[in-house]
Symmetry: C2
Subunit: 145 residues, 2 copies
């Protein structure tokens, strides 16, 4: 299950994507509009900013805006920042590989092989779906390709 943190992050990016072109959006406004607890959102935006996805400006007239094109921000990358690995077992993770506690022989592990397939299937969607795609799908029923 996605954490709320991740859901909030995606929602915030979508909102900021729609806001592109306009002056930056303040945390408070974003929090109200998307119904996200303000201080929680604050942390999330910070993470996204430190990861290079957002631009922020302090002081009066400041706020947040996207630091990349909505079409260049992929869900897979966002999930990794907020929730960590995408794979369902650490030993099948591409970016957060770790040996499973329970596992003795990784090479022949049938579970691992299966969950590498799952990971690949998941990534095929998440690494190709951008914030722009999510926005596009909000309106029309179908998109992509």
């Amino acid at each position: 299950m996605l954490s709320k943190k991740t859901k909030y992050a995606i929602k915030a990016l979508v909102a900021l994507g729609k806001n592109a072109g306009n002056p930056p959006m303040q945390i408070v406004r974003l929090a109200e509009q998307e119904m996200i607890p303000r201080k929680f959102l604050e942390q999330i935006l910070l993470d996204m900013r430190n990861a290079g996805y957002l631009y922020s400006k302090k002081g009066a007239g400041g706020g947040y805006s996207l630091n990349k094109e909505p079409g260049d921000i992929y869900l897979a990358d966002i999930l990794r920042i907020t929730d960590g690995p995408i794979a369902m077992v650490p030993c099948a993770s591409l970016k957060f590989y770790r040996k499973c506690d329970e596992c003795h022989d990784e090479i022949t592990c049938g579970i691992r092989k299966t969950f590498i397939d799952v990971r690949d299937a998941t990534l095929k969607v998440l690494a190709q779906t951008s914030i722009a795609d999510v926005i596009a799908r909000e309106t029309d029923g179908n998109f992509r390709e």
Copy 2:
């Protein structure tokens, strides 16, 4: 991430699958062999039994054995017993559908649409991979199709 419960469940099913034909296997032996805490395994096996996947026999000479062919036990079903929904958001779940707290308009939700795609991709693997497949993959490098 898969819970340990699920990993243990799969391991137990695989072990029992390999044991098919022989007399039933006792919890204690299974726990030792697979290095799973005994009492924890006990609960897991019970769940699997109540779901119809295992046959159990009490008393001396008792133990556990599979109640189905290894080829008829699919990972998707096991995961659902031990970890619940396979989808990453409740509103995209096939078997455990629930409205997301944060969501106002599910029909146009771009996030939901994307995660339905993810769910389908995941299920394409998990609903077609059986315990028999996992066992087969343990030995040879490739299997399936």
